[in-house]
């Protein structure tokens, strides 16, 4: 969808001003949308394509009703992507469009240079679309109900992620690879016995004493091997790595739920 010439001209003009102001931004692609399209994209978190889930429908209903009754209006939406995608609403007056476009260039500069955002992925739109395709493929294979139920579970812990993971590495890569289950291969526990002849062994190493000692050792080992050794912040990632997933190789799903980005403004 192309924007009309007058907006295109404005875009160039505004872009020049932005550069003059010293902004450093991704290129911006503007799209002209009707209010309904804007609402739909907004309920999909700003992305044109995502995985199928009822909660997007829920947001759509809320946003739609609120617009219909004149309580709010989304006049600007921009996606942290390279190039940046920004949506303009057809019904906005020209002055608003100008403001929004100028505003969007500042957003784009922020996305590109902010310490937090500078680590984020710039291919979010494609990633989202890929997640969507993957979830749909899984839904075909395992049944829509099953997949949706599973997503419901993932979404209920979607806030248990490490929002600073973009900038801070909290643990070494190597450790992430060690598997919890592998530790059973360790050598068995052995209590040290005092040397004694066969017939004296019962008296020199009484069984109760041995058993108590063994328990002590087991406790100590269990303590040593607390799992995970350090508390984890990113619960979703932890599950992603360690949980035994049931339906096949569905391990990539929760990553669909671990995604920040976009800015949206409404008034």
């Amino acid at each position: 969808m192309n924007i009309p010439h007058e907006l295109d001209d404005l875009k160039e003009e505004i872009k020049a001003h932005a550069i003059d102001c010293g902004l450093d931004f991704f290129d911006v692609v503007f799209e002209l949308c009707t209010y309904d399209q804007i609402n739909q994209i907004a309920s999909l978190g700003g992305f044109p394509t995502r995985y199928p889930h009822w909660r997007f429908g829920m947001d759509y209903e809320k946003i739609g009703k609120s617009y219909t009754w004149g309580l709010s209006k989304i006049y600007e939406m921009v996606i942290n992507n390279d190039p940046c995608y920004a949506y303009l609403m057809t019904s906005n007056p020209l002055v608003d469009q100008k403001l929004v476009m100028a505003h969007v260039y500042a957003h784009s500069d922020f996305f590109k240079n902010n310490a937090f955002f500078s680590h984020t992925s710039r291919k979010a739109i494609d990633e989202m679309a890929n997640h969507g395709a993957r979830v749909r493929a899984h839904a075909e294979r395992f049944g829509h109900e099953n997949v949706e139920d599973f997503l419901d579970c993932c979404l209920s812990i979607e806030n248990l992620i490490d929002i600073h993971s973009m900038g801070i590495r909290r643990r070494g890569e190597a450790r992430a690879k060690t598997r919890f289950l592998e530790q059973s291969e360790e050598e068995p526990l052995e209590v040290r016995r005092i040397k004694a002849k066969d017939y004296m062994d019962r008296f020199i190493n009484p069984q109760e004493f041995i058993a108590a000692k063994r328990k002590e050792l087991e406790d100590a080992r269990a303590k040593q091997k607390r799992f995970p050794p350090e508390p984890e912040r990113d619960v979703l990632l932890f599950l992603l790595e360690y949980a035994p997933w049931s339906p096949g190789s569905a391990r990539s799903w929760p990553s669909s739920a671990r995604r920040p980005t976009t800015s949206r403004r409404s008034g």
């Binding site: 394509t49 009822w54 809320k62 009703k65 209920s156």
Partner: protein, 376 residues
């Protein structure tokens, strides 16, 4: 069409699916275990001077809450029924009832469209099958898109081939000297249909009501309620719908909606007058080849005895052959015999003639089911 636009359009159809799924959960039709998480928040809007409450159902998936989740009702010792927050305090019994009006807000929960949908689901009404091919307002299914799943018989050879070729080249499996392309499941593409709406459709409803002296307010209330639901349903089925209203005692006249529900006349009853008028209007303005015509007639069944035969003849000859449906609803008569329904049932058996008794509000439900249950 550019890529972005394509994506946009895909997104559009997707949100419809997500949205209808959400509505189904809220209405309790699917995923019943999620119902307990539904909260009914509301937004306050304004319509003119009035406040309106716009309910926004939300489903809150259970989640961990950070911070100290203190206290709250339902934790700690105590029996069911103990007052929360210590002992009950005797009040001092002073004070009067307030004299300020509260703020009233109108709820705008449902659109008529949603109402019709619920009605259809509740009564298990079949969708109307309009008559006459060219006048239908319908959805047409045409095979003009591509989907990732489908039956093998609809496999799109070219697309599948291109997909497979693309994958093999990307994976380095393609050998130009031995160009063998083997599609795997992910490569396959199928022809798929898209629903298109054919915009034009014509339907007209005639509401006829007996307003003779024997029809009281209670009877009219029944008629009004029934007519409202019928109207709602048919409106959901046709894009364009006209309504005509006819009242009759001993003579019939065409009126507007307001008058239809409000008038109270007196006098005798000659049902044939209304049928005659209806048949004339149909002939004049709604040629049956182009229109789907519905007639609903409500009366207390107290017709002039000598008029009955006349009625049946008009029905048989002039009306029934042209109509999708003729429904006769008989409300309980205060005075008379209420014979008309029985006589009508005896006299004419036709597929598009339906009759029902509506003695009380409870029977409206059944009457609608009888009238609309055939999908005519």
């Amino acid at each position: 069409m550019s890529d972005a636009e394509l994506q946009l359009q895909e997104g559009v159809s997707k949100i419809e699916r997500d949205h209808s799924r959400f509505r189904s959960i809220v209405r309790g039709r699917i995923k019943k275990d999620l119902r307990k998480y539904i909260t009914n928040s509301e937004m306050m809007g304004k319509k003119g001077k009035d406040l309106v409450s716009i309910p926004v159902p939300q489903i809150e998936l259970p989640r961990f809450r950070f911070g100290r989740n203190m206290g709250g009702v339902g934790s700690g010792e105590g029996e069911v029924g103990d007052p929360v927050g210590g002992q009950p305090q005797p009040g001092d019994g002073q004070g009067e009832a307030g004299d300020q009006p509260g703020e009233h807000a109108l709820e705008v929960e449902l659109t008529l469209e949603e109402l019709a949908k619920i009605l259809g689901e509740e009564l298990e009404l079949p969708n109307v099958a309009p008559k006459g091919q060219k006048t239908i307002v319908t959805q047409k299914e045409r095979y003009k898109t591509i989907s990732r799943q489908g039956p093998e018989s609809l496999r799109h050879f070219k697309r599948t081939y291109v997909r497979a070729l693309r994958r093999q080249i990307a994976l380095g499996l393609y050998d130009p000297k031995n160009p063998r392309i083997i599609p795997i499941k992910e490569d396959k593409r199928y022809k798929s249909w898209q629903i298109t709406h054919v915009p034009e459709s014509n339907a007209v409803i005639f509401y006829m009501m007996d307003v003779s002296g024997s029809m009281g307010d209670e009877q009219k209330e029944l008629v009004r309620t029934t007519a409202f639901w019928i109207d709602t349903w048919l409106r959901s089925q046709y894009k364009r719908l006209e309504s005509r209203y006819i009242t009759h005692d001993a003579a019939a006249r065409e009126v507007d909606m307001e008058t239809f529900y409000r008038t109270r006349e007196s006098g005798g009853t000659a049902i044939s007058s209304a049928y005659r008028l209806c048949a004339d209007v149909v002939d004049d303005q709604f040629p049956s080849a182009n229109w789907n015509i519905y007639v609903f007639h409500f009366s207390d069944g107290d017709n002039l005895l000598s008029d009955n035969e006349h009625c049946f003849r008009i029905l048989r000859e002039d009306l029934l052959p042209k109509l999708n449906l003729f429904c006769y609803g008989q409300v309980r008569s205060l005075y008379g015999s209420g014979e008309f329904k029985r006589k009508l049932d005896d006299a004419i058996q036709a597929e598009n003639l339906l009759t029902a008794d509506i003695k009380s509000k409870d029977e409206i439900y059944d009457a609608i089911k009888i009238f609309l249950g055939k999908g005519k």
